[in-house]
Symmetry: C2
Subunit: 177 residues, 2 copies
DNA sequence: CTTTCTAATGAACAGGTGTTCAGTTATCTG
DNA sequence: CAGATAACTGAACACCTGTTCATTAGAAAG
């Protein structure tokens, strides 16, 4: 995972992976049928864990759920930079069948946010003309944090989360109280 | 560019590039000193063209400039999917020196948006506690369009641009008139 | 201590990698 | 037309690629 994240799937050889864990290349094939499965397993495990971890209580207040989602997304992605990086960068190195599986999991994650936005609309707590577009925009915005945030900078992750919560509220038309 | 965008720098060989343009691999070296320069030139040209094309009249109304920037970013990136994809995905395949050059150009592009936000704040037309964070959030949000937008879908690029202009306004705290 | 089972090695396979360069072919100039 | 310049080929270099497999080493069980 470290090597794939740092240098990319195509640029890392099985021999390098083997050296990293202290064996010869042949030994890897006791654990994976091939290199492709290695990549797919990393991405699949990550997406499964993401879906299992995302909080989603349909009975709670939509705005509270939205705030929870924003904080969750930023924190979860921040804590797993390698997994996140691979899952966004190495999609094109998956076989079509494997790609379809990951795409489906990703869509299900997006659906969590879109449900929140739809419930928020129904409850009149927010106003956005297109919940699908808003979902994609919010996720792109939040995921962007992991491309530039580094510990020890001007702002803490809590500061960042507060700023993004402001921006998300504005973007999806939450009226001031 | 097509091959790098579609399959990735590391996965494409000089022989494949040569075949694509109808020559032998050796002939490519009449035009580029090495493969790395090929990648760097693509990215460098793209970033230079982007910076040359971005509209930025400092005397105009900040809100009008912001709307222009949003429409420009979406349109410009939509029209150059391969360049955009390479410039975001292949950063790690640049040598450190080349990476620094591209990073600098990217920062200069971000500065264009941040200037607009700062002027908007000074003019009291928008309200965002951190223009740097807002800049990164807005650019991530807008760039995300090119990862999912396909011609002929439910919405036209003009529809999308209108929705994103709504969301950007909300995100950076533009008060309703 | 021997047998059984698991796990790792290291060589081999068939092919691919970026890059160089002497030699050939094509194009342009006078 | 000949001469000069430019462009391209194709072989070569030294090495790396994912994957397989007979053989060896290590650990667990009886």
């Amino acid at each position: 995972m470290k090597l794939f994240a740092r240098e990319g799937y195509a640029a890392v050889s099985m021999r390098r992976i083997a050296a990293e864990v202290g064996v010869q290349a042949g030994a890897l094939y006791n654990y994976t049928p091939d290199k492709q499965s290695l990549l797919f397993t990393l991405m699949h495990d990550h997406m499964q864990a993401l879906l299992a971890a995302v909080p989603g209580d349909p009975k709670a207040d939509p705005l509270a759920r939205l705030e929870t989602f924003v904080a969750f997304h930023i924190r979860y992605h921040h804590d797993r930079p390698d997994e996140v990086f691979i899952s966004y960068m190495e999609l094109r190195n998956l076989t079509p069948e494997n790609f379809a599986v990951i795409e489906d999991l990703r869509r299900r994650y997006e659906d969590v946010l879109e449900s929140i936005l739809r419930d928020g609309m129904a409850a009149g707590r927010l106003h956005t003309p297109d919940t699908k577009i808003a979902t994609l925009a919010v996720i792109a915005m939040l995921t962007g944090v992991s491309t530039w945030f580094r510990e020890g900078g001007r702002l803490s992750l809590e500061d960042i989360t507060a700023r993004y919560w402001d921006m998300v509220r504005g973007a999806v038309g939450v009226r001031a109280q």
